[in-house]
Amino acid sequence: MKIQFRRSYLFAILGVILATFVIFFGTIGQSQAGSTPAENRPEDETAIDWTQSKAIFSENTHIILPSKYTAANLPPPEQDPCLHCHITGEDKGLWTPLVRWIFFGGAGLLFAFGIYRSSSVWVNRAPWKPITTRTADWFDSRYEISEPLSKFLSKPVPKFATRWWYCLGGITAFLFVVQGITGIMLAFYYKPTPEAAYSSIQFIETQVNFGSATRMIHHWSSNGMILMCTAHMIRVFIMGAYKKPREFNWISGMLLLLLTLGFGLTGYLLPWDQRAYWATTVATEIGAAIPIVGDLILVFARVGWDIAAETLTRFYALHILILPLVTVASMGAHFLMVRRQGVAKPL
């Protein structure tokens, strides 16, 4: 069976990727902490040597002057020299950027339309296969992936498995992906030291574009993930889907639940506010109450007897490196087992 995937899926995927890039680089991908052009202005303009014809890095400002500026051709002194060509900043005019947006934007739209148009069968020329088929054939002639891929994709899913309570596990996995994406965005700005953690989160919430939104999603998806994981576990338990031959899958699922709780525990400390600090103190004290190994657990978790900078670093490393790796591996095993054994048939 040849792979058929619809052209609209291709455009949808490209559109999502494009929108993601636009939103990402337009918002999270840049910091708002830059200074305004007024601050770039030098104290004493006569002190700058404008006669250099090469690009200079003036010590009074951190502006790099393009090499086209010479003594005879200075940039307007009241304006940041960069703004002579570029659009960013407060001193922008209207017409130049407008003409540029119209011209280049129009050219871009024309280019996009051209891609769409040429991906369909061209009316006035010899017809060729749709681009999706041609792409699939290009890969298939090199990797011969068509057969195993169609076998994978055509696997029958029993109709009973389309009931809503069978979605809970997948929702948990989706929330994990959401946590990963929002977590990466937060990790771009979070500073894992006791001195800087609190203010870095304040920075995220106030200065970063959509930082407060990202943090809100990350906070509530963590709770949601624990709830969905528990709900999935309850569903599997009630329907007896842990029985032979699925015992080991149940154990891997329990491991995933514990890892999720571990994510919650390690992530909760990261804001380094009073609630985080003392809640973690209480939680690690509970661990310390375990006989024989309690003190060992406490010292391993806290990297010492008290919660300090080392604790924060260790919890951060656990939260962004170790727990994600172990969780992804466990999820892989869990999904493989479900795939291999199929969804348990209910009575």
Partner: protein, 134 residues
């Protein structure tokens, strides 16, 4: 693997595109929910408490909500018991497939397990809420 139905027939749908599109709808639904939560976050952010002060324990220190039930329990049983009990419970739950091996013969088993889960969850939620309000 006797209960696995690998034949393609009226009782099943192919993974792609049918099941994938079903799952995609669920994913889109939850994405919309996440974006709504994000939108709320633009106006009422999560916020922070007071900066951490290791010298100063606040009056009502509480763990995160998923540990509140255990924390409340710990106020009434000894510390050792309170640490060992969850570990023992997790061990029992993890090894449950080896404790309950009898194959289900009717949906009565589902009913009994649902009742057990309901009792357990009610106790857990009650302890959690109690931990939150006290």
């Amino acid at each position: 693997m006797a209960d696995i139905d690998t034949q393609s027939n009226d009782n099943s749908v192919p993974f792609y595109p049918d099941h994938v599109s079903n799952e995609a709808k669920v994913v889109i639904g939850f994405s919309v929910l996440a974006l709504v939560i994000g939108l709320i976050g633009l106006f009422a952010p999560v916020g922070l408490g007071e900066p951490a002060d290791p010298m100063n324990t606040p009056a009502h220190v509480k763990p995160e909500w998923y540990f509140l039930g255990l924390y409340q329990l710990l106020k009434y049983i000894s510390k050792t018991a309170g640490a060992v009990l969850p570990i023992f419970a997790i061990l029992v739950i993890t090894l449950w497939p080896f404790i309950d091996r009898k194959p289900d013969t009717s949906t009565k088993a589902y009913r009994w397990r649902a009742i057990g889960v309901a009792i357990f969850m009610v106790i857990l939620i009650a302890m959690t809420v109690w931990g939150e309000v006290s």
